[in-house]
């Protein structure tokens, strides 16, 4: 029999204490298992971004040595980073998982969605997402949203009931007491579940380092041709590229978030290792979204408005 007392750290030297990361991990695993125990058809939103990667890692730990009892769903804007799609498919394959893809491009091609004048596809994700939830009859949808990301998300419950239109009404949320999550819902309604609610960006990075989790390469510093638009370094791709007034240049950058290429900006960085990334985040004076997401800058309540419509 092995005798391992793992990850015990406490400044008071109490005999039974949990480190900060262990406490967060334990809580997230509890949330995954609650959903597995109470819902018929849950799904994990998986974009290949660091939060969804951490979610999948936690789910793998929660049910080991059995497989994760959930499928994955990716809302593909059609403007994703190729490195991230490659990572997504490799991960799905590696763990023997099933991936559903809801495609924004297909909606545009079918005339069900119209391209926005600014070319940004992030707001267009809501319709394919909510229709996939309805048609595939998912009753619990895991999202990697964290309350530290944005002020509207700070108001979000761990279990967030959505009506048949997937709408979020911040004024009519259920009180969430102790660790007793109420997932009851009527047919057609579903529950959004946020196991990383209490994590911060730094927690996510520290956990990735502790657990040795692999990430898509774009999270680490690399040289890339980018151009400046609205104060952000964007990468050209199938979605479009620099206008005549914008000059592409090669810079040493990395990404703090992974989203639609048309609205996810890179940051100048020489952090090529997890250690360096953590050191960089720890001293950064900009929030993750403030630094790199154009869609949150559209208005003061952009996130709240999208969430009300059914965005994750």
């Amino acid at each position: 029999m092995t005798t391992t007392v793992a990850h015990v750290h406490d400044e008071t030297d109490a005999p039974y204490a949990l480190s900060h990361l262990d406490a967060l991990e334990s809580e997230a695993v509890h949330i995954f298992r609650e959903v597995a125990g109470e819902f018929e058809k849950p799904v994990i939103l998986f974009s290949g971004g660091k939060d969804s990667i951490v979610m999948l890692h936690l789910a793998l730990k929660a049910f080991a040595p059995a497989p994760v009892p959930f499928t994955l769903l990716h809302v593909d804007t059609g403007h994703n980073f190729p490195e991230v799609l490659e990572y997504r498919d490799r991960t799905v394959e590696k763990h023997g998982l099933r991936l559903h893809v809801a495609s924004v491009q297909e909606y545009i091609d079918a005339g069900k969605l119209r391209e926005r004048p600014d070319g940004t596809r992030n707001p267009l994700q809501t319709v394919p997402l909510t229709e996939a939830i309805q048609s595939l009859k998912f009753d619990a949808v895991f999202g990697g949203g964290r309350r530290d990301e944005e002020k509207a998300r700070a108001k979000e419950r761990v279990f967030s009931l959505r009506d048949e239109f997937s709408q979020w009404d911040p004024r009519r949320q259920r009180p969430e007491l102790w660790q007793l999550y109420n997932g009851r819902h009527a047919p057609g309604e579903h529950v959004r579940v946020f196991p990383l609610s209490n994590w911060t960006e730094l927690d996510v990075w520290q956990y990735i380092a502790r657990e040795g989790i692999e990430l898509p390469e774009i999270y680490f510093a690399h040289e890339r041709e980018v151009f400046l638009r609205n104060g952000m370094w964007l990468t050209a791709g199938e979605w479009g590229g620099a206008k005549e007034s914008e000059t592409p240049e090669t810079r040493l950058i990395r990404y703090r978030t992974v989203g639609d290429m048309s609205c996810t900006g890179a940051v100048d960085s020489d952090a090529t290792t997890l250690d360096a990334v953590i050191a960089e985040i720890a001293v950064s004076r900009l929030t993750e979204r403030g630094a790199t997401r154009a869609d949150d800058k559209m208005s003061e309540a952009a996130m709240e408005d999208r969430k009300r419509e059914g965005y994750f």
Binding site: V5, D10, H20, A64, P65, Q206, A209, T273, A282, G290
Partner: protein, 449 residues
């Protein structure tokens, strides 16, 4: 991709810090938003883009100084009306500790919001305006903290700048509050004189109050002990999910997954499964990937037992030497959190740990008035924000502890089976709301959870 072994040492200090969950309570004009804003701002937890956004909106509204309340009011309606609508959770860290702050609104729906915030809090900050002293609202906040058994309460006497930083003003308020809260059974009370607006004793020690020798609010939050001696509590393990891979590699694996609600579990320990009463011995504990001999609350683990007995979600595994009794008659104090009332005769669901069963409300013996702690017998129903005693008959037995012994296995929800609404937050067993004559009995037993 990247090797992590040699990096762990570099940030081990950060990862090793503990977590304090705390809630703030205060009425609208006590300066709660300013205190929260000051805590975030002075502990350098507000990032440049967030501060710029606050400055821009404040300037647009014609305000001279940045309104720190805008840091916490995140919804359109909140910003339009200048009020806080719902509980929000804030995150910040210092070199010594990480914090999760449940920022609870102080206005009309005070009770259910504070109950929500306090249910997971290790500490509550009750804010008082130094000019007004202990008012009804203060007593209400102290009573909710006592009912929810929040282990530490901080009385922040705010706006000391408006009373000339006088020690006598602070001392009188601190004495009155401490006497009141101790009578309710609050085990630890720390009173701190502050000015949230001027920054006195919030993060930095005040130069205006030499007579005060205690910690600042932040120093206290950083140093208050959060690890309880869980060995003193009997172990409780609600089964969440049964893990049975049935794969070639693990043909016979059968693990009971759950989060240890209290106490310590060891391999070799004799256990009883409730409500069936079957017994076995813990053969193995899998702690998220590694096999361990010992695990404790609140770790999420998977237990393997020596015998193949029928165990499913909702069952409770406890040491045979110290298993709780089961009951179908639950007596509890509840806080009603829904808009629809709860009446005698109502058919409800009760969610206790991982078990949800049908139940009927047999009796509502009393309703408590938080302002003066008076009891109103047989009110017939409870409405939003009421606190009262209920007697509930359940369709199946529950292994329920007293809330006084365990916040996790002594708490439950009442749910409307028709639409799934959470109706009430329940705390099993006796509380100061049980009987009028016991209202001011201090808890001699101490607090174990």
């Amino acid at each position: 991709m990247t090797s992590t072994t040699d990096q762990v040492a570099n940030f081990a200090d950060l990862a090793a810090t503990t977590l304090l969950r705390f809630a703030t309570a205060g009425s609208v004009d006590d300066g709660k938003s300013t205190l929260v804003g000051r805590l975030l701002h002075d502990s350098k937890s507000v990032l440049t883009d967030q501060m710029e956004a606050v400055e821009a909106v404040s300037a647009q509204r014609g305000q001279e100084a940045p309104d720190l309340a805008l840091l916490t009011d995140g919804l359109r309606a909140e910003r339009e009306q200048g009020i806080t609508i719902d509980v929000a959770y804030r995150y910040f860290a210092t070199a010594r500790r990480r914090f999760i702050l449940a920022d609870t609104p102080g206005h009309v729906q005070y009770t259910r919001n504070m109950v929500t915030g306090a249910s997971t809090a290790d500490l509550a900050v009750v804010l008082v305006d130094a000019r007004n002293g202990v008012i009804e609202q203060t007593r209400r906040h102290a009573a909710v903290a006592a009912l929810l058994r929040v282990p530490h309460v901080v009385l922040a006497v705010n706006k000391m700048d408006l009373v000339g930083y006088q020690e006598s003003v602070f001392a009188a308020i601190a004495e009155e509050f401490t006497a009141y809260a101790s009578d309710l059974g609050v085990p630890e009370i720390t009173a701190i004189p502050i000015s949230a607006l001027a920054g006195d004793n919030v993060v930095d020690a005040s130069a205006n109050m030499d007579w005060y020798g205690g910690p600042t609010v932040l120093e206290h939050l950083e140093t208050v002990p959060v690890s309880h001696d869980l060995t003193a509590c009997p172990a409780r393990f609600p089964v969440q999910y049964v893990i049975r891979p049935q794969s070639a590699e693990h043909p016979d694996y059968r693990g009971y997954a759950g989060q240890i609600a209290s106490g310590v579990l060891r391999v070799g320990e004799a256990v009883t499964v409730l409500p069936s009463g079957r017994t076995s011995v813990i053969e193995g504990i899998d702690a998220l990937g590694e096999s361990v001999d010992i695990a404790w609350a609140p770790q999420s683990v998977t237990l393997r037992l020596k015998d193949d007995i029928d165990i499913s979600r909702g069952d409770l595994i406890a040491p045979s030497a110290n298993a709780p009794a089961t009951t179908q008659d639950v007596e509890a104090t509840v806080c009603h959190v829904a808009d629809q009332p709860l009446a005698v005769g109502a058919r409800v669901l009760i969610k206790h740990t991982t078990r949800t069963v049908k139940a009927i409300v047999k009796e509502i013996p009393s309703r408590l008035t938080l302002d003066d702690l008076s009891q109103h017998p047989n009110p017939g129903q409870l409405v939003a924000n009421d606190i009262g005693r209920v007697v509930v008959r359940t369709a199946e037995p529950l292994a329920l502890d007293a809330y006084a012994d365990s916040r996790r296995t002594g708490s439950f929800l009442l749910i409307d089976p028709a639409d799934g609404t959470t109706l009430a937050a329940g705390m099993a067993g006796e509380s100061f709301a049980s009987q009028a004559e016991t209202t001011v009995q201090a808890d001699e037993e101490g607090w174990d959870f």
